[in-house]
Amino acid sequence: MILRITYYISNTNQSAGGKTKKLHVRIYEYQSGFYKHLSIVHISSVLRMSAQLYKKNDAYSTSSGQLPDKMTIFQECLQQFNLSPVNAKKCRQLLAKLLRLLYHGEKFPSSESTTLFFSISKLFQHKDLSLRQMVYLTIKELSATSQDILMVTSSIMKDIQGGDLIYKPNAIRTLANVLDASTVSASERLFKNCLVDRNPIVSSAALISSYKLLPIAKDVVKRFTNETLETIQSLKQFPSNQFQLHEYYGSATTNLPSTSYMYQYHALGLLYHLRNHDKMALMKLITSLSDGSSLKNSLSIIQLIRYINKILSDDKSLITHLFPILSGFLKHKSDMVEIEACKTLIDLQHLINESDFMNIITTLQKLLSVPRTSTRFAAIRLINKISIKNPEKIIVVNLELESLINDSNRSISTLAITTLLKTMGAGTINDTGGEGVDRLIGKMTSLMDEITEDFKIVIIEAIENLALKFPSKHKRLVSFLTDLLRDEGSLELKSTIVDALFDLIKFLPDEGAKKLILMNLCEFIEDCEFTELSVRILHLLGDEGPNTSNPSYYIRHIYNRLVLENSIIRSSAVIALAKFAIVCGGDVSKNIEVLLNRCLNDVDDEVRDRASVSLNFIHNSRKDLIINEFQYDLGALEGKLTHYLNEAAFDNSFDINEVGVISSEELKSIDYNRKLTKLDSTSFAESSANERDAEDLTTNGKGGDDSNNDVANALLKQQEYAQQLSAIPEFESYGKLSSSSPASYLTEKENEFVVTAVKHFFIESQKLVVQYNITNTLNHLVIQDVSVIAQPDNELYTEDLIISLENLQPEQTGTVYVSFSTPNIDDEELLVAFGNTLSYTNKEIIDEKGNIDETDEGWSEEYQIEDLEVLAGDFVHPLYNSNFTAVYEQLSFEESAVVSLKNTKTLEIGVEKLLKQLNMMPLDGSEYVPSDSTSHTLKLFGKDVWGTKVGALVKLASAGGKVVAKVSVKSENDKVAKLVAESIN
């Protein structure tokens, strides 16, 4: 605005005197029409003038799409609405312009908005229906920014009582925006009458107005319950003149709907909030509405399905009553109802048996081939969701999925591909799966030319995922990736491919695959335009190349880089060569020395420096300085350094030995886990990368993914625990913390007191500290002298001390530590179970500040909580190894056992349970159980806290609802093998 003023002034300075005069006359005219509440008359008049000028210059401003001037509209509104008689047509146009400003995002300051609001309210006196409808809409939009809006309440209420049917619904809906908590009750009678009105539109308007009033006046709206119920059941029809406003429908009233039943939807939506505390009433409502034809409107049926979903998520036992209703909606004339039913049933799939589940798939299958894009999209989204956990269940729709790969909607084709890759994965275990993968890859190769890059990236990630999960298929997949690498592409695309290949090298067990990929990468850097990628590949060649059968092949390729490339690539090639020299030794080393000597004459400083440093290391055989055998735990390092800086005790030097070291093997385990989790989530995050959905899907799963994340973060967590424990003087002498278990619940999560336990082992000093985290969920009680009595069933465990909790306020969490001396690995029995009892003194809170009566002695109570077991898993860390069979063979001591797993009905559950109990890493993709099979082999690997390796080969067989496991455990220590074998149950 200010800008425009200056523009005006300069304009008048330049313009001829006559024109300026003319403008002055205009001011006078308008000033006589002004109102006193415009505090800055003078500035407004200047603005007015500038706007006038502005408008003159651009006569077609509004129709050519330019926004009308805010000030002009404001002034014009004030003027027009106060005329007598009011020009209805002009006013409606003005209101439209005003709305256009509002819907464009312009905001009027509160005082101006209020002025407008009241000048518009003058139009209530005009009889024109179309103007009145517009007035209500404008008032509704302005009500948020205006003050004293309650003033119009009585005018609106008058209209609702006696106004024309055309604007009556608008009036009702506007009323909800104008009312505040204190005035709602005055309009109660009015709302009730409208709720039961015969006209569906009036009824709907009253329903949603009540709904909008819920947050400010719940008690008043609650009194509408009966009227709302009545509305659902009743039949309301339009009056005969409903369609007479527009010539478009002319006299053809026969095909027009006589009612839309939308009021049923609105009534149901409102009713949930009035009844949600009363489960029985909701159940009754659902059963009465679900039979046949009481609900006519698709939206209201969707609402009903959501009710059912809500009820079932609170009380699963009702599924037997409610399932028939839901499955009835799987066949409905409206596809939105079918989709909603499928959605809900998939959410509840753990409650549904196999054959019922197939009904859902059949419905989805049908929906996949409808012409409407949105329906196909919804269906494939759901199928993709199923495929994450149960790919085998959707193999039947593979044909439909394949035809969707070329769908015009890109999201659909992306989802089709990622889903197919998953089902193919499940299929490879069967004999027919191989063909499927080949056919799919063939299809995608042809597709690759037509699609955009970010879509290609999605596919590459999916392929990598497949290769990781099903190593036997790697050849075809690797060649697909390397072909793609040779094609034209941006850095981002190529990086993705190289990343994928790197991961495959790291994690594929097959030596042949490694060689194949390395050779392809060598070829790639011969003609690579991206320095960044060349450097990364050279680094990888240096790490992996020396351990292959023919290192000289790679040396040749690396040397070519030294001759042909820029200095950055040359310097990394130098380091890569040095690695070959130090690992291979012998002739190779001598030859490389010759090559490196030549580099001493390189034009670039960095290359010369690196060459001479490398030569020096090679001469002195300082292998440790060239090759990284281990890495510091970076999270822990950061923590320690921050701690060191905060303490500011710089007299003592920082001790790097305190930081945990991760061997390259352990690092691989963490990477592997992270990779699998990430791939799982990205492949269903869809091309638009909606991470929230992905998260949502993972948490919807069985929690298997959570444990993966736990492993990745375990080191960080343990670091935290170590810090907490070392802060407690009693535990100072215990030394280094060896392992901490994840927290396990010893109570139900809804109990008065929620207790979780974490086991901390100090192997060197033979101590176990159990950390009990106790949450007091009672809001009227303070508990004092809280401790846990833990009874070990193994005599070798003796209790040392308890650190109890003095006081636990409501809604707070406190910690009790119990410390034990433990037996060693060489002792008889290492496993133990603790019987736990919580003991405390109750004191009631007497005032609002949470104080307790000092004289009250309270009463002491004991509270039985669940047992805590120490399992083999507490002594083992998962460890990754790419060649399980070879490592397993090398382990010397073997122990075997045959166990029937308790409470285990399927192989899947068995595998999950074993992973939890043993805390070992599943290898070669053996954690995925193929569908329909009755036996499965699980390969597990880990490292115990005493530093020896443990491998376990578990053969599982299921028969008649029971799962039997034949366990062979091999270890470098016979006691450990025995321990692991024994702890399976």
């Binding site: 509704k140 949603i208 429908y249 979903n309 329906t375």
Partner: protein
């Protein structure tokens, strides 16, 4: 994610022109939404979204943690934004039906200039369809029947009760009336 049990279904309704400029933009319950509270956030969202969907007739995509359905006709796009877990078919039907209703109201010329000229019809129609994020009506015929036409002429001519319709349709009506009368006369003459 639990499905939305309330009636608040739609996050925003937008009409953009062929350059991504907003003609109509209504974000429902702005203060409750986490992402699009300020005008600049909204404009940024519209700009990015427009580049994603312009001239690609895909009807439905997921974008920025929202479910987006849209219809592009002539030089404008009608967009409905809903939460991610909303029923796709429902939201698309809404967009489609609203599009149809606007088409009828604007005499099948659903383009930028007409939208701006008859902005009163457009804003009333959207308001009759979605109020504050609640779906009020979904049937296009009923939507149309709820929107009032602007007052036909200014007060003055109404008062004098002289009403000569000079539009195309008016002339057409006059012509057909004349031919009918002529036919009758001729028949009588025969």
């Amino acid at each position: 994610m639990a499905p939305n049990i309330g009636l608040y279904t739609i996050s925003a309704t937008l009409i953009l022109d062929n350059e991504g400029e907003r003609l109509y933009a209504k974000y429902y319950r702005e203060s409750e939404s986490h992402q699009y509270q300020t005008l600049s956030q909204q404009l940024q969202f519209e700009k990015n979204l427009f580049s994603k969907i312009n001239k690609l007739h895909q009807d439905i995509i997921l974008y920025d943690n929202h479910l987006i359905t849209y219809k592009q006709t002539n030089d404008i796009i009608l967009i409905t934004v809903a939460p991610l877990n909303e029923n796709e078919s429902l939201v698309y039907s809404l967009t489609n039906n609203l599009n149809e209703a606007l088409n009828i109201l604007l005499d099948s010329t659903f383009d930028k200039i007409t939208v701006l000229e008859k902005y009163d019809l457009v804003s009333l129609c959207v308001d009759e369809c979605i109020d504050d994020g609640i779906i009020l009506e979904i049937d296009p015929a009923i939507l149309v029947s709820r929107v009032t036409n602007p007052p036909t002429a200014s007060n003055v001519s109404n008062d004098l009760n002289i009403h000569i319709d000079l539009s195309e349709r008016g002339l057409f009506n006059a012509l057909s009336f004349a031919s009918k009368k002529l036919g009758e006369k001729l028949q009588q003459g025969l």
